[in-house]
């Protein structure tokens, strides 16, 4: 067995190289300093961010676009606390990510040393697992275990906290012996994979018998790389598919069986088809409150088949009639094999199909036409972006109205083209996530769809994009408001607008973007939209920001009000009087 004397800092970088890490995002500081020295000689490209939160979201965007784990490295104390938000975001959206934090020297832990914080304690509830490494010799194993845990089972973020003394070559505690075969020691970690054949057969029976089945598809399908298997299952059975906010692109929007996004701002047909269904075939989804609306009124007649790799999701919210605990791709492939061998049954679904097509005809996504004198229609901006970009464009989004419009009006025909913060709802996610996606997929067009509230939270990472050479494009849907909060205040707080107006004049987004090295444009007139997008797409040597001035009064519809059931979906005013 080959062994080599080295220090913990070099061993850490070597261990990352052995895991196949090509890009990492980070910002150095005191406690992590010794690990930054060997980066100079490493094959890993390090992207220097402007704020540690940016590093975390970039690692997430990289992971969401590529399927490979994102890696971020920051120092101790405030850097560690700054990356807590991305960790929590990745935890809720099951994003594989490894975060390395510096820590004060081992002997100083617990003394309130400079830039000390209890990083593993703080991040315990927002990571899949975390480690505080005590000895240099343990570094390679901790890194191997971190990547294994982050990428297997239900993926998630893992944090590795590294005290300075075990990576500092000047400290004898950093001496260690590198060996090529490090064994993991995880006696309590046994992620489920295989699926139970009897459960698959029972699920197939329910599916054959169902007259109003719906494939309720969540982000787990993407995590399981199961989009192709899902397509086979849908086409073989002829069952319609809804794709949740986390699953947009897992099934092509332009497919005749695709009903689009369900949930609080889902389209009428997706929401109503789930609500009226007699069988929800739930694949890697978790009955999130944004999908179910008021739980006791959700899909009252539906039996549930629930496939999830995380056993704790089975029965957490809605009791399944058949639970399949395991990998989504294996489960879907097993169902395809079962239906191929033994047929899909002869349930009569003609009436169901005509009800669905009736809803689709009567209740398409809709907004009122633009009138002269008005600011831009945000939905129209998204439609033009969609139509003027290649269909494999990656779209990253912040959180709020612009996120919902992007999800509604874009046509997602490919998996891993939609990157957003679903579970945590992290404002400011778009720009760093788009940079991470571009780092992982440099040949693809990457657009960040952002709001002005979000933009002001993480815009500084456009400096990172310029300096590090990531020519992302930002479509800023600027309505001068915290738009989603404004919408709730208009609809549910009697138009009493409290602390939601930002400013019409400051900042000057065009000047700001230019100062960060971006090409910048401002668009007020609908006739200028196409030219601006076309110009943005011709620029590939720096980031582009387009400040689209959109209507503040525009609201996201349909909408299930908080506390209402999905049967009480509020449709746009133009559809309010139509028979359901």
């Amino acid at each position: 067995m080959a062994t080599e004397q080295m220090d913990g800092g070099r061993a850490l970088i070597r261990a990352l190289e052995e895991e196949g890490v090509e890009v990492m995002f980070g910002l150095p500081g005191g406690a992590i300093l010794p690990v930054y020295d060997p980066i100079i000689d490493s094959s890993i490209r390090h992207i220097l961010v402007r704020h540690e939160q940016g590093a975390g979201h970039m690692a997430e965007g990289y992971a969401q676009a590529t399927g490979r784990p994102g890696v971020a490295m920051v120092t101790s104390g405030p850097a560690a606390t700054n990356i807590v938000t991305p960790l929590c975001d990745a935890h809720l959206d099951s994003v594989p990510m490894v975060v390395i934090t510096g820590q004060v020297p081992y002997a100083a832990i617990g003394t309130d040393a400079f830039q000390e914080c209890d990083t593993t304690g703080i991040t315990m509830s927002v990571t899949k697992h975390n480690f505080l490494v005590a000895e240099a010799q343990d570094i390679p194993r901790a890194i191997k275990e971190a990547f294994h845990i982050a990428t297997t089972g239900r993926p998630g973020p893992v944090l590795v906290d590294i005290p300075k003394d075990i990576v500092d070559p000047a400290n004898p505690r950093s001496a260690m012996e590198w060996t090529d075969d490090v064994e993991m020691d995880l006696p309590g970690y046994r992620p489920a994979t295989d699926v139970d054949a009897a459960a698959v057969a029972a699920a197939a029976e329910l599916i054959r018998a169902a007259e109003r089945p719906i494939l309720y598809v969540g982000g787990g399908i993407l995590k399981a790389r199961a989009a192709e298997a899902l397509r086979q299952l849908a086409e073989l059975t002829g069952i319609h598919v809804v794709t949740t906010l986390m699953a947009r692109g897992a099934f092509p929007d332009s497919h005749e069986l695709c009903l689009g996004m369900p949930g609080m701002h889902g389209n009428f047909t997706a929401v109503t088809a789930m609500q009226e269904s007699d069988l929800l075939i739930t694949l890697g989804a978790r009955f999130d409150d944004r999908v179910t609306g008021r739980l006791d009124g959700f899909a009252p007649d539906a039996k549930i088949v629930h496939v999830d790799i995380d056993g704790a999701e089975l029965g957490k919210v809605r009791r399944p009639d058949v639970a399949i605990h395991g990998d989504c791709r294996l489960a879907v492939e097993a169902l395809v094999a079962e239906f191929t061998a033994n047929g899909t049954g002869d349930a009569d679904r003609g009436a169901w199909r005509s009800r669905i097509s009736g809803w689709q005809e009567r209740f398409p996504l809709a907004y009122e036409a633009w009138q002269p004198g008005q600011a831009l229609k945000p939905q129209y901006v998204i439609e033009r972006l969609r139509d003027l970009n290649p269909d494999d464009t990656i779209v990253a989004s912040g959180v709020g109205q612009h996120q919902m419009w992007a999800s509604q009006y874009w046509t997602f025909d490919h998996p891993y083209t939609w990157i957003n913060s679903g579970g945590l709802g992290t404002m400011g996610y778009a720009i760093p996530a788009a940079i991470g996606a571009k780092a992982g997929m440099p040949d693809r067009t990457v657009w960040a769809v952002d709001g002005d509230g979000c933009f002001q939270m993480t815009a500084q990472e456009l400096v990172t994009a310029t300096v590090e050479g990531f020519p992302i494009k930002v479509a800023l849907l600027n309505n001068s408001y915290l738009g989603m909060v404004r919408q709730w205040q208009e609809m549910f707080y009697e138009e009493r607008y409290s602390e939601v107006f930002l400013s019409k004049d400051v900042p000057d987004y065009k000047l700001w973007a230019q100062s960060m090295g971006c090409e910048a444009m401002r668009v007020d007139d609908p006739d200028e939209i196409d030219a601006a997008i076309t110009k943005a797409n011709e620029i590939d040597d720096r980031p582009v920001v387009i400040d689209f001035r959109v209507m503040a009064e525009e609201k996201v519809f349909p909408m299930v009000p908080s506390g209402a059931t999905n049967s009480d979906l509020v449709v746009p005013p133009s559809q309010a009087d139509l028979p359901r």
Binding site: T120, G121, M124, S125, K128, H129, L132, I149, L186, P187, G188, Y189, D310, G311, A312, L314, G315, K316
Partner: protein
């Protein structure tokens, strides 16, 4: 099983965890975050130094047992969870208690103690320190008996438990 029946409201889990720093915090943190209530908790190393064993009595009024077990199982340091059904577990708890014991009432106190199978640990001028090991309900009963004497200080360990041996095995 009716969990509203007081007998079944509390359920015992015997959880084997890796003997690493912070593991108890992970378990306690999980219970706090998910809103699970712990009725009692006992922790000690096992015969294998790599592992510790937690005996956790869970209050099922706060959340279904299935969720508690599944969420615990997701903790990477949790190696094994055994669920001890009420009635199929041998449970023991240790109580140490200091009670008022004026000379004229000592005989009565010692009589209670003998009947319960407890021990005298220390005797003072007007107080006695006693201990009792037994099933939790018997420890409860004994505590009630002592109350009229005046409990000065009392400490219970929380229960530990193992499954009843199978006679057929």
């Amino acid at each position: 099983m009716n969990i509203n029946d007081p007998e079944y409201r509390y359920h015992t889990l015997v959880v084997t965890v890796e003997n690493k720093s912070g593991v108890l915090a992970r378990v306690a943190g999980l219970f706090a975050r998910r809103g699970f209530n712990i009725e009692s908790l006992a922790v000690a190393p096992t015969d294998d130094e790599r592992f510790s064993r937690l005996t956790i009595v869970v209050d099922l009024e706060s959340s279904p047992l299935e969720q508690v077990i599944k969420q615990l199982d997701k903790l990477v340091n949790v190696v094994e969870i055994r669920e001890l059904h009420p009635g199929y577990a041998v449970e023991r708890e240790l109580m140490i208690v200091t009670v008022g014991a004026e000379p004229d009432r000592r005989d009565e106190l010692v009589e209670h103690l003998d009947r319960a199978g407890g021990k005298v640990l220390s005797v003072g001028a007007d107080r006695m320190m006693l201990s009792l090991v037994g099933p939790p309900d018997r420890v409860d009963d004994f505590e009630d008996l002592l109350r009229p004497f005046g409990i000065v200080e009392l400490q219970r360990t929380g229960r530990v438990a193992l499954a009843v041996l199978d006679e057929d095995a």
